[in-house]
Symmetry: C2
Subunit: 440 residues, 2 copies
């Protein structure tokens, strides 16, 4: 037994010496032909989708739910498998670090999130996390050492309003901590359940300059790439998003005894307003969108005229000015509707989820070159969806890589991206990381 033990020790010593020597030589310019492992990526996407799997083939893994918590153990295990040293920061973000050759350099960071909307799909967020881990694993397997440290970030509760990335840039408010998330827990309770410490969020903050660059891969969630048969979207900016609660006050009354001409029906007013939002959003050229996604009518009985409706209004565009002008037109139309229906309509802004957020031109150029070199087709495009990248853009040069979403479907059990497209994105990410590492 002692003899075997000594032999093993000698073997390890020899292997480590050889590897260190090897690492010192393999750097970015020798590694252009590295590619990710599509098979492993696919297996991991399917495995991750088991956590919160729904009968419709989707995933219900809202942040802080039992499904979310269990899935993070799996993510931890594959991050370790890829050679990353992991820890949970105070906001519950999973941080995985691979040291670089030069300890004085800031890390190149990349990642996304693993939480989903209620009844979501298996690609949104997951693709960004699993491709990030895959890139590190390929580097490790090929014994490639970068100059900069590498950091994979798995953000907390993206779908609830970029909670984890806001904490990292220091903009997560104490009010946001008290919001009740889809899990039923407050965000504060949720962060605790992930192993974070909401009382010490300052320790999670990363200052400007502390991160060399941040890159996020995400499914497009629109149908532009898929319908045009383009491999890669190079994101030029993330649209601004504004949310309002719209409250319509009418008069609750008996549906059988109140003649049609004496009603102050809040739901009828809401119907006119929903159509007005659609008309305003489609009435001018551009990529703006306007949505009413949530509605509640009170008292909510079939035989009572609704006296009150509360509904959401969301507007998105790459220009904050345009969002404002669309909103003003909606308010004007609401005034007319209120007058005609005998109701009162009030708009109450909910914390603006995001101001428009352009990506970094240099990073965009590097992503473009990486795609071109890999022989992939690419398109410069806005992101209609919000992403953790828009937070990170506040503290680091940031870029985003889109891969196609079949039919543009997302936030749905039916969202789908072929593994070939995911692997393309991962190869662009890998190439981008190495280009930033060597030249940026």
């Amino acid at each position: 037994m002692i003899g075997r033990y000594q032999l093993t020790k000698i073997n390890i010593f020899l292997m480590v010496s050889i590897l260190m020597h090897f690492h010192a030589y393999i750097e970015a310019d020798q590694t252009k032909t590295l590619t990710v492992n599509p098979k492993r990526l696919e297996q991991r996407i399917e495995k991750l989708a088991e956590f919160g799997k729904t009968p419709e083939g989707g995933v219900n893994r809202v942040a802080f739910s039992e499904n979310d918590i269990q899935s993070r153990e799996y993510i931890h295990s594959i991050m370790k498998d890829a050679g990353l040293k992991t820890h949970i920061d105070e906001a519950g973000n999973i941080m995985g670090r691979m040291e670089g050759i030069d300890p004085s350099l800031p890390p190149i960071a990349f990642g996304s999130h693993t939480d989903t909307v209620p009844h979501g799909g298996k690609f949104d967020g997951a693709v960004g996390v699993l491709t990030a881990i895959e890139c590190v694993q390929v580097l490790a397997e090929n014994s490639v050492k970068t100059r900069h440290p590498l950091e994979v970030i798995v953000f907390t509760d993206e779908e609830g309003g970029l909670i984890g990335s806001k904490a990292i840039i220091g903009t997560l408010t104490s009010e946001a901590l008290e919001v009740i998330s889809h899990s039923g827990k407050t965000v504060r309770e949720g962060i605790v359940s992930l192993g974070g410490n909401p009382d010490d969020l300052n320790s999670a903050i990363r200052k400007k300059g502390e991160i060399k660059a941040f890159i996020e891969i995400h499914i497009e969630q629109g149908n532009t790439l898929a319908s045009k048969n383009i491999d890669i979207g190079v994101v030029e900016g993330i649209v601004g998003i504004n949310w309002w609660d719209v409250t319509i006050e009418g008069f609750a009354n008996h549906a059988g005894t109140t003649p049609m001409d004496r009603r102050q029906d809040a739901l009828l007013a809401a119907a006119h307003l929903i159509i007005a939002v659609n008309k305003v959003a489609t009435g001018v050229p551009g990529c703006q969108v306007g949505t009413v996604g949530r509605i509640k009518a009170e008292p909510g009985a079939p035989n009572v005229i609704p006296g009150k409706v509360v509904m959401s209004l969301e507007l998105r565009d790459l220009s904050a000015d345009k969002i404002d002008s669309l909103f003003q037109e909606i308010v004007q139309r609401a005034d007319v509707i209120a007058e005609k229906t005998g109701t009162k309509i009030a708009f109450s802004p909910i914390e603006a989820t995001a101001v428009p957020s352009p990506t970094d031109p240099s990073i965009k150029k590097i992503i473009t070159e990486a795609a071109r070199e890999l022989g992939l087709s690419y398109l410069s495009m806005p992101s209609g969806a919000g992403h953790d990248a828009q937070s990170m853009a506040k503290i680091a040069p940031t870029g985003m890589i889109f891969v196609p979403s079949m039919g543009g479907v997302s936030h749905s059990p039916k969202e789908f991206t072929p593994v070939k497209d995911i692997a393309n994105g991962a190869n662009v990410l890998l190439n981008t990381i190495l280009r930033i590492d060597s030249t940026f």
Copy 2:
């Protein structure tokens, strides 16, 4: 002690003899000047409103709730106070009986309900029950004995779909028992909680001919009487009510990345349909009404285009044919909306709450004569609301007396009827009972 006891026994014997003799003489034609006690009526309305009182001055006493159960104990106590012998039937209805002179005659029945809609008012239902008890109490106080037995009925769960009166006429279905009521209990569980026995509902059935007549007082719940300053509504019939669940299937998708022209927004389609219902209901002359009171959009997040909406549709009219033609027009418009919005719209009838139900012409005549004799103004009118009277009309000659609702407000904390108007109605009821007893 023995001497006093004997004296008491003799006194009671004498009093009973005198009263019985007295009763035999005081009959309908001597009692025309009897009137109810407005002060007591008012006190009881306020007392009953304590059960489920809301900060807005309304009442939240949905059937089978703790508030409902406790209020029934109070009702029991005042029924006994009025000299009624009470019992709970198998459907949970409270039945109070005052024997008449001729035991071979069927009872004259009257009453209403004490449950409310969620966040309702203190007059709907309560007025009918408390005036019924008041009439019996005035007769008892004045030692007036009717030929027919009198029965006060406090119906179970009127607001949930005439549950108690449907049980009495034998039309309560086993499916209806499994419906979850606003209390959170199923109707079956609710009936048990009131002391009924849902496994033996057949024993609650009253056959045609078993009840001489049924009369219900109710607040008008519309603004006709109050706006025209008329004391009494003589109800000519109760409108038919049809309910549907309308399901709109669109496609749930990301609100940021799905361009406006590629959406299949179920809530946008619902908005068009709500407006169509309003247009159809207001597009022809008549007193028909059409209402969408309940709506649910899924998944219900501000950043997801609703993929599914389920909403209620209610149509009411005195003519079943008209309800049918209005519905057909709504379906036609729905087809156009579905086509334009890329959705599917399906209508699923919910158990028809009621077919149009005319009142009995003889009873209507008696109510009219009673009002005229009391010097009250009156108007023949339909009931836009459903009532237990429409069930009872299936097994007994039935009439309804309306009293004004200020501003036509009902099913609301703001519903209000002055006690003077309630006392007018109660006097018409008392006079009507005595007329039916002596002449009908």
